[in-house]
């Protein structure tokens, strides 16, 4: 009996292998049930009564406390439950949210008029005191305080319940943008004070969805807030299922087990696009991937060596192999496209091994430069390391691979012990200064998050001045100069601007992602 079973299983597995290998996108059994609706995005569609959406997400959220969020999926979930004073629209314009209107009174003073009648999920009305409380609280928390550092904590004023005056310590050009991050969400003072430790299990916000449940390792569920101050959400419930394995997320969206799947492997893009039941959305987001040279290491302190390594790298090949042509854009500067202050006229270093050899010789190396590549040990990074190893060998550089797991890697980088390291950096407020400051200002070495650990008084000065310069053109000019210096100094090899991928069931409508990788679920609905 066992043989039969086993034979049966073997037969099935062989069949499965066949399907997998031929990349057969098949004709799922229920394909015939719904003819003619595919690809129809015209006005003829009938809104479906389906109002629960299941989304496959790639990792466990960090917290339901907005102040403790710094990865995109956590920010997304939290931003469904909470609102901020101001917000970004899908084009990254600043729009009013809890603040109905706002004005700048002088260089450091801003006045916000709150929307009236906004109710928290516990029934309390939004008051000016909640805003002050939330910002003060965010200033106490390790993750969120990076965004409150410019706010003068003694300078709040609340002339009445619906007006808040906020002062910055000095003029701050990106102040409005900084108020849009989910870390500065407005929480309910009363609920939070009563149960500080429960913010995580019972978050009380004003957002279009209410928190329903969180089963660690399994799912987070949110439900529609029928008393929402804006347009109420079309979905009644959104279930975020935690599926860490990327191939499993792909299987789930292909089998129709989920309505959306986030963060997909680039190698599957083509197959997903060919599938009629799935819409693959690829959109630019505010991330840059690069290989950082730690300039505090002896050999890498020499600009010629860094330039040589740039010339020695066939970056187009690496990008196409690792992130595919569909999955990523060529990168020419550390600031991703679509961000104000980006330098549009820089070019990536060309692939020129001869020039690399010359530069290395000039720097005093004769086929004897040894460098280590420190990275998070996953498939993509290992492949990247091997390709670099091969390419750099041609110019006489010996690259040793040093894979680490995340904990050891972070410790290594924070103590500036690495030499060459692949990094991904985010611009969470859609403004050049934030990212450039973090990457190139000398105060951000090591624990500050800079992996190039670069020191240049001119760059420091430009960044500091730009931050307090209110004139847009002047400011962007300074950011462009920083990018020029950084480019000439060859502090990093730009890998790519990777697209963010979301696979949606073909019946999903109203999907409007924001380039900061946030998705607003309140506008999403299904059609028949």
């Amino acid at each position: 009996m066992k043989t039969k079973v086993n034979r049966f299983i073997t037969a099935l597995l062989v069949m499965a292998m066949f399907f997998a290998l031929t990349g057969c996108s098949g004709t799922p059994a229920d394909d015939t049930n719904e003819p003619g609706t595919q690809g129809a995005s015209t006005g003829e569609e009938i809104v479906s009564s389906k109002d629960t959406m299941t989304v496959a997400i790639d990792r466990e959220p960090q917290s339901m406390d907005p102040t403790a969020t710094n990865i995109s999926i956590t920010c997304t979930i939290v931003s469904q439950i909470f609102d901020t004073l101001l917000d970004f629209d899908p084009d990254m314009n600043i729009i009013p949210s809890l603040a109905e209107s706002y004005e700048q009174i002088d260089d450091v003073t801003y006045k916000f008029n709150l929307r009236k009648g906004v109710k928290f999920h516990n029934g309390e009305e939004l008051k000016a005191s909640d805003v002050v409380f939330s910002l003060k609280r965010a200033n106490e928390k390790p993750v969120s305080r990076a965004y409150t550092q410019e706010i003068d904590m003694e300078g709040f004023e609340t002339p009445d319940d619906y007006t808040v005056i906020i002062r910055t310590k000095e003029p701050y050009a990106a102040f409005y943008q900084s108020l849009c991050v989910s870390r500065l969400s407005i929480v309910n003072e009363k609920a939070t004070l009563e149960a500080e430790n429960d913010v995580n299990s019972n978050p009380v916000g004003t957002g279009p969805f209410k928190f329903a449940s969180w089963t660690a390792g399994d799912n987070v569920t949110i439900e529609r807030n029928d008393d929402y101050w804006g347009e109420t959400a079309k979905l009644k419930q959104v279930v975020f299922r935690i599926i860490t394995e990327q191939s499993s997320r792909v299987v789930e969206i292909e089998s129709g087990g989920v309505d959306a799947a986030l963060v997909l492997p680039a190698v599957d893009y083509e197959r997903l696009e060919d599938n009629e039941d799935i819409d693959l959305e690829l959109y630019t987001s505010h991330y840059v991937r690069y290989i950082a040279f730690n300039t505090t290491q002896d050999s890498l302190a020499d600009k010629r060596v860094r330039q040589a390594l740039n010339y020695a790298t066939d970056i187009d090949t690496i990008r196409d192999v690792l992130y595919t042509e569909k999955g990523a854009q060529k990168a020419t500067t550390p600031v991703p496209p679509g961000i104000e202050g980006r330098h549009e006229d820089l070019a990536q270093y060309d692939y020129n091994p001869e020039k690399a050899k010359e530069l290395l010789k000039e720097a005093g190396y004769d086929n004897d430069l040894e460098i280590s590549f420190t990275y998070l040990g996953n498939t993509t990074n290992t492949l990247m390391g091997e390709m670099l190893q091969e390419q750099w060998k041609d110019v006489g550089v010996i690259l040793t691979l040093n894979p680490l797991e995340s904990g050891a890697l972070t410790e290594n980088a924070n103590n500036m012990r690495q030499e060459v390291m692949p990094v991904r950096s985010a611009y969470s407020i859609g403004e050049a200064g934030e990212g450039l400051m973090k990457l190139f200002h000398s105060s951000n070495h090591g624990p500050g998050g800079s992996r190039v650990n670069y020191t240049n008084p001119r760059v420091d000065e430009l960044l500091e001045t730009a931050k307090v310069t209110m004139d847009e053109n002047e400011r962007n000019e300074m950011y462009r100069e920083v990018q020029e210096i950084v480019h000439d100094e060859a502090l990093m090899i730009y890998l790519c601007y990777e697209y963010t991928s979301v696979a949606l069931g073909s019946k999903v409508r109203g999907f409007n992602p924001i380039p900061t990788e946030r998705i607003d679920y309140s506008t999403i609905y299904f059609v028949e």
């Binding site: 597995l13 710094n70 995580n200 390792g217 129709g256």
Partner: protein
């Protein structure tokens, strides 16, 4: 017998203490700082890291931290708070461990049924075609990586046939694919063990005696042969089940099962000390209990052993 069990249960206390000490020390000397990891690859600032370290109680000396852990555990039954989700560790374990138990029970149950039957028939019909094919399949079953088998099963049953959900663990239907994935590889081991153990017993004189006195073949095989061949089989099954108590990391990842294995791996990566300590304690406890049950089962399989249990 009862005295023996009580003594074994009491012995668990020093074992658990020892396990805690070893795990605590290992985590202490492993490089990596939970505060830095929580702030992410992109880093925070020095103050942010210090603030978090303070919050997590990482600034106290080794002995104070270990003492606090043991004291909270003994006096309040408190395993601490998860650094990542800020939920009590006991709650996280309560959410994950039952899933691991269910998966272990189902897959080992499946493995026992398939493995023992296959093993017996193979032994009885040694060197027949059946035996050869079954043992070849068993070899395949042990050699095939679980994550690969799991993916193949998913592609077939979830995408192409659409019979079963691909991942999750909320209903019996969700449990079938993971249980089959783990079950088949365990079944292979159990089948091989059953076969060799049965072969040894079948050659004994008392089997000939049983046949000579006219017992039917089925009774000879099941009562006389199998019962005496059980000890190694129980050991194998026990070990399999015990190992499963630590979770099946790859299978859990592929099928998105909120089990203890994946929780532990994530916690170790994030240096989430409270979860690692709490998790290891529970796994060690479960493993010890499974061992105890195996020892008790020996006594039933072989009454001669009972007299040794004092």
């Amino acid at each position: 017998m009862l005295k023996y069990i009580i003594r074994r249960v009491l012995m668990l206390i020093p074992v658990m203490l020892g396990v805690s000490l070893v795990v605590f020390t290992l985590m202490y000397i492993t490089p990596g700082n939970p505060a830095e990891i929580l702030l992410g690859e992109e880093g925070g600032s020095k103050e942010a890291i210090e603030l978090l370290e303070e919050e997590m109680g990482l600034n106290d000396p080794y002995i104070v931290r270990f003492g606090r852990f043991i004291w909270n555990l003994v006096s309040k039954g408190d395993l601490g708070t998860c650094y990542a989700t800020r939920q009590p560790v006991s709650q996280r374990i309560a959410q994950t461990f039952p899933n691991t138990l269910k998966l272990a029970g189902l897959s080992v149950g499946l493995a026992v049924v398939i493995g023992v039957v296959l093993g017996i028939v193979s032994a009885v019909k040694q060197y027949s075609i059946f035996d050869n094919v079954a043992m070849a399949l068993a070899m395949l079953g042990t050699s095939m990586p679980n994550f690969w088998q799991g993916l193949l099963l998913m592609i077939l049953f979830s995408i192409h046939l659409q019979w079963l959900p691909a991942s999750g663990f909320s209903s019996f239907k969700h449990m079938i694919l993971p249980a089959v994935t783990i079950g088949t590889s365990s079944a292979a081991v159990i089948a091989r063990m059953t076969r060799s153990s049965m072969l040894e017993v079948i050659r004994q004189d008392y089997i000939s005696t049983a046949r000579a006195k006219g017992q039917s073949e089925i009774v000879v095989i099941l009562r006389h042969a199998l019962k005496n061949a059980l000890i190694p089989i129980i050991t194998t099954v026990g070990i399999r089940f015990g190992v499963m108590m630590g979770g099946a990391v790859l299978t859990e990842s592929i099928f998105a099962i909120p089990g203890i294995g994946k929780m532990m791996v994530d916690a170790i990566k994030a240096r989430n000390y409270p979860v690692v300590q709490g998790g290891v304690l529970v796994i060690a406890l479960a493993f010890s209990v499974v061992n105890l049950i195996v020892d008790i089962l020996y006594a039933f399989a072989d009454p001669r052993l009972k007299s040794q249990y004092r």
